[in-house]
């Protein structure tokens, strides 16, 4: 059970929308996290800003306690699900060219039809998975 937190959700969302806008206006790059992560495996100068962005993501986690922001300390899913889930997230976002940030925020924000379709699909599939695991298998 988690509480409905509309204010922090809206503020948090606005902050990440602003972060993505900043990267696009100044550097001309989209803040698609899966693309940034898979892109660091590439070589050349395009790897540099991607490493810097990932460094920033990690910094945010490190300074969160100072700002009195709570972070989870552990992942609750079982080991097999964690590893299979991680593999599918990596494989799927590479093949589908985006994740929640790239398609869900930057893509829909640019009114890209591809991103709207991709977002609807991954939300629907994830909803079905949760329904099956919580209400059919886990019931």
């Amino acid at each position: 059970m988690t509480e409905f937190t509309p204010i922090s959700a809206l503020i948090g969302g606005a902050i990440l929308g602003f972060a993505a806008l900043l990267l696009l206006i100044l550097n001309g790059r989209l803040a698609g996290i899966s693309g940034i992560i898979s892109g660091v495996m590439s070589t050349g100068q395009n790897a540099f800003w991607r490493w810097a962005f990932i460094g920033g993501l990690i910094l945010s986690g490190l300074i969160a306690p100072w700002l009195n922001l709570s972070m989870p300390t552990m992942l609750t899913a079982s080991w097999p699900l964690t590893l299979i889930g991680g593999f599918l997230v990596g494989f799927g976002t590479y093949i589908g060219a985006g994740c929640t940030s790239g398609h869900g925020i930057c893509g829909i924000g640019r009114l890209s039809l591809r991103s709207i379709v991709a977002t609807l699909i991954f939300m629907l599939v994830a909803t079905i998975v949760v329904f099956v695991s919580r209400h059919i298998v886990g019931a």
């Binding site: 993505a20 962005f53 590893l83």
Partner: protein, 144 residues
């Protein structure tokens, strides 16, 4: 690209990454239970994450339309690097399905996975390693 510009790019990316991470933390996208409860429409539905998307899309979407679209190039580069593909293909659909499957299993997507590395919890690290392996396999497969 000149060295000076390269470091400027790095600084912007670092600041943007830090802010993005803070957005994920403030909105609680990093909390797997919060994400799974958002996806659980027929159970203990927590609609919070819809507002994360609303806030993110509001700022990015309006900013894109008013500040990016009318401009021909970004401040620190020669052009905007935007995807050029327009059509819905099998790869997009397959990829989105697989991502949705993994996201539904664990409740975590790539951004929060990286932010959560600071917990040094073995499972978060395992998730990120598995995600990198998945990306690597997908890349190897699509380069064949």
């Amino acid at each position: 690209m000149k060295k000076q510009l390269l470091s400027l790019h790095g600084l912007v990316a670092f600041i943007s990454g830090s802010l993005f991470g803070l957005g994920l933390i403030v909105s609680q996208m990093v909390d797997t239970n919060k994400v799974l409860n958002f996806l659980d429409f027929f159970g203990q539905w927590d609609p919070s994450l819809a507002l994360v998307m609303g806030g993110g899309l509001g700022v990015f979407g309006i900013g894109f339309a008013l500040l990016v679209k009318p401009k021909s190039k970004p401040l620190f580069d020669e052009s905007f690097f935007l995807p050029t593909k327009k059509h819905i293909d099998k790869k997009l659909i397959t990829g989105a399905c697989l991502f949705g499957l993994g996201w539904g299993f664990v409740g975590i997507c790539p951004g929060p996975a990286i932010v959560n590395l600071v917990s040094v919890d073995a499972k978060f690290i395992g998730f990120v390693v598995a995600m990198l392996v998945g990306m690597f396999c997908a890349r190897a497969l699509s380069q064949r």
